[in-house]
C-alpha cells in the first residue's frame, strides 16, 4: 500500500513586477543585490485575482492534464483565504464541478505547507479514507505587503499549484519528519485582521532593515532570525529524514528545498554538503511563492529532466509558524 504523486501543475497570476519596476519606486533599490544574492529578477503578483482564482486555475490545469475528474478529497493549503469562512476547499469543489460525496478542508501553513500536505495525503490514502486527492497550495502574500516595504516586495510572489496524489502499490511518498516551534510565531506575521487584533486604519508606520516600512495590518518578516532558524534546523531536518527512511546522502538523487532566496539556499547547500548538480535553485521569475515553491520546483525539475522516474528526491519545507518538515519521494 502506498501513495504516488500522479501529476503537478502550477498557475501564476498575470501581472509581473520586475526589479526595474521596483527601482522606479525606490531610488535606493539595489538591482544587482536582488538579482545576484536574492536570486530574483521578477515575480508575478495577483492584482486582480484572489487565492481561490489562482487555485481554480491550477486545479483546472491538473485535472485537464490527467483527463480524470475522479477526486475524492480536496486539501487546500493557504494563509490568504478569500474569506475567513467558509472553507475555500468547499468553494473550489463547486467551481470545479466535482462530485459532492468527497471530503474537503483548508489548512493554514506557509512554506512547510506542501510537505505537510503530502503527509496528510499519505494518512488519508493509507487509511483508505481517500484514493485520489487534489492537493492545492495557493497564496497571495503580496496583497498583505506594505507598498513601502521594498524588502518583502522584492522577495515574495504569488502563485498556486495543484497536485494529484493517488493510491499505488509502491510506497513512493516515504516517511516524514515534521517539526514545530511556535515560540517563533512573531518572526513572520500579519498581526492585525484576525480575532485578536482588528484591522486598524490608523496603524502606525514602522521602519525595519534598510528603510523598509510596514504597519501591523501588513506582513512583517524578521529576516535574520528566520535565516538563523533555517541554519539551525534544516541540516538536522535532512539528517532526520534520511534516518527515518534508513537512507544516506548518496541515496538521494535530487534535493528540493523551499525556494526562500538564493543566498539562504546556497548557504544550506554548502553547510549540508549537497552537490550543486543535485540541488534545485530557481526562483528567478517567481520569487518566493510560499507553500507553492516546492511543487513548482518539482514540476520544473521534471520538465527539465533534472529528475526522472525512479529517482529519490528529498523535499524540505520551512518557515512561518515556525514550522518545518521533510520527506523523500520516489518519482
Amino acid at each position: 500500500m502506498g501513495v504516488k504523486i500522479e501529476k503537478i501543475e502550477f498557475y501564476l497570476p498575470s501581472d509581473k513586477l520586475t526589479n526595474e519596476d521596483l527601482k522606479k519606486e525606490f531610488v535606493d533599490f539595489d538591482l544587482s543585490k536582488v538579482e545576484n544574492k536574492i536570486g530574483i529578477k521578477s515575480r508575478q503578483v495577483a492584482t486582480k485575482e484572489t487565492s481561490l482564482d489562482l487555485a481554480y486555475n491550477s486545479s483546472l490545469k491538473v485535472l485537464k492534464s490527467t483527463k480524470d475528474k475522479n477526486i475524492d478529497f480536496i486539501l487546500y493549503c493557504t494563509q490568504t483565504p478569500d474569506y475567513i469562512l467558509p472553507t475555500s476547499a468547499c468553494i473550489l469543489q463547486d467551481k470545479l464541478n466535482l462530485k459532492t460525496n468527497i471530503g474537503a478542508l483548508d489548512f493554514n501553513l506557509g512554506c512547510s505547507g506542501y510537505v505537510y500536505g503530502l503527509a496528510l495525503c499519505k494518512g488519508l490514502i493509507d487509511t483508505g479514507i481517500a484514493k485520489r486527492i487534489l492537493l492545492v497550495t495557493t497564496d497571495t502574500y503580496t496583497k498583505y505587503i506594505h507598498k513601502q516595504d521594498k524588502g518583502n516586495r522584492s522577495i515574495f510572489g504569488d502563485g498556486s499549484t495543484a497536485s494529484i496524489l493517488s493510491y499505488c502499490n509502491k510506497n513512493n511518498v516515504k516517511e516524514f519528519q515534521l517539526n514545530t516551534d511556535g515560540s517563533g510565531y512573531d518572526k513572520l506575521i500579519i498581526k492585525n485582521g484576525g480575532s485578536k487584533y482588528s484591522l486598524d486604519e490608523n496603524s502606525a508606520l514602522k521602519m525595519y532593515g534598510d528603510n523598509n516600512y510596514y504597519n501591523d495590518n501588513c506582513l512583517y518578516m524578521q529576516g535574520p532570525d528566520i535565516f538563523n532558524f533555517t541554519i539551525k534546523n534544516i541540516p538536522k531536518l535532512v539528517n532526520d529524514v534520511l534516518d527515518k527512511n534508513k537512507m544516506n546522502m548518496d541515496d538521494i538523487d535530487y534535493f528540493i528545498f523551499h525556494q526562500a532566496n538564493k543566498f539562504m539556499l546556497q548557504y544550506l547547500m554548502k553547510k549540508i554538503k549537497i552537490p550543486k548538480e543535485k540541488f534545485h535553485l530557481n526562483l528567478t521569475e517567481t520569487g518566493n511563492t510560499v507553500s507553492s515553491t516546492i511543487p513548482i520546483a518539482l514540476k520544473q525539475a521534471l520538465d527539465q529532466n533534472k529528475i526522472k522516474v525512479g529517482d529519490n528526491v528529498l523535499l524540505a519545507g520551512f518557515g512561518v509558524g515556525l514550522s518545518w518538515g521533510g520527506t523523500i519521494i520516489t518519482i
Binding site: D30, K33, K37, G151, G209, D210, N212, Q222, G223, P224, D225, F227, N228, I231, K232, F263, M264, Y267, K271
Partner: protein, 71 residues
C-alpha cells in the same frame, strides 16, 4: 581564524575600503545575512536580530565572538 583573516572577511562583507578593529559599521539586511552565515561557518556562533542591531563597530563583532576564539 586569526584576527587579520577575520578583518579581511568583515571588510568584504561590509564592502569597506579600509578596516581596523575600531572601524564603525552599519549592518544592512544583506550584510546581516552574510554576517550570520560567516559567524556560523567560522565560529559556530548564531547571532540574532537584537545582537545584529547592537553592532556599531568591528569591535562589537569581536566581542560577540570572544577574543579567546581567535587563533
Amino acid at each position: 581564524m586569526n584576527k587579520k583573516e577575520f578583518l579581511l572577511e568583515i571588510q568584504d562583507i561590509m564592502l569597506l575600503d579600509e578596516i581596523n578593529e575600531t572601524t564603525e559599521i552599519e549592518v544592512d539586511s544583506m550584510a546581516s545575512l552574510l554576517l550570520i552565515a560567516f559567524l556560523d561557518e567560522e565560529f559556530s556562533i548564531l547571532i540574532d536580530q537584537e545582537q545584529i542591531k547592537s553592532i556599531k563597530s568591528v569591535s562589537n563583532i569581536i566581542e560577540l565572538i570572544g577574543d579567546e576564539n581567535f587563533k
